[in-house]
């Protein structure tokens, strides 16, 4: 196979960057939103209790579903994007 040109490399690098950037941004927003929604802000100890654990799980699942609905409505191809 022919080695990719400089321009092709630059493009694939840019795409990889964008993909990473997108995923990190999504993860960070999911984490902070679910922290806001699920944590008891009095912070009586340093562990998640049972309720907080299951809240975080469900929160992630619902957040993911919202990305799906938005993605569909935007006509984006694929689920995760």
């Amino acid at each position: 196979m022919a080695s990719p040109s400089q321009a092709e490399l630059a493009k694939s690098l840019a795409m990889a960057q964008q993909e990473l950037d997108y995923r990190v941004d999504l993860f960070n927003r999911m984490t902070s939103s679910c922290f806001e929604k699920c944590m008891d802000r009095r912070y009586k100890d340093g562990e998640l209790n049972v309720g907080e654990h299951s809240c975080v799980d469900r929160c992630c699942a619902k957040y993911w579903q919202v990305t799906g609905i938005v993605g569909q409505m935007l006509g984006a191809q694929g689920q995760g994007m």
Binding site: Q18, D21, R29, C38, S54, K62, Y63, T67, V70, L74
Partner: protein
């Protein structure tokens, strides 16, 4: 802030293409961030019960409403933004 774009016609083709590609990349990046911020707004404003791991019908409907409102607002701000930008540029050229 316009000098960079105005100089573009003077660039040789290869360099102009490099510049345009970079700008296109930035636009993709920005639209992905916008997508994420819209998702976040829909989620934060519409979802507040975590007894189930699936969205209920009220939450789903809310998400679609917020989304449509965001788009409409965004388009409207875009129009105003464009008008005000070009007015400012005209004033600067006088």
């Amino acid at each position: 802030m316009n000098s960079a774009m105005e100089g573009m016609e003077d660039l040789p083709e290869a360099q102009r293409n490099a510049l345009l590609q970079k700008i296109e990349e930035l636009q993709v990046r920005d639209s992905l961030r916008t997508y994420n911020s819209v998702v976040e707004r829909c989620f934060v404003d519409c979802v507040s019960s975590f007894r189930s791991k699936n969205l209920d019908s009220t939450e789903e409907r809310c998400v679609t409403y917020v989304l449509r409102k965001v788009f409409e607002a965004c388009a409207r701000v875009g129009m105003r933004f464009g008008e005000m930008s070009s007015q400012s540029e005209q004033q600067m050229q006088q």
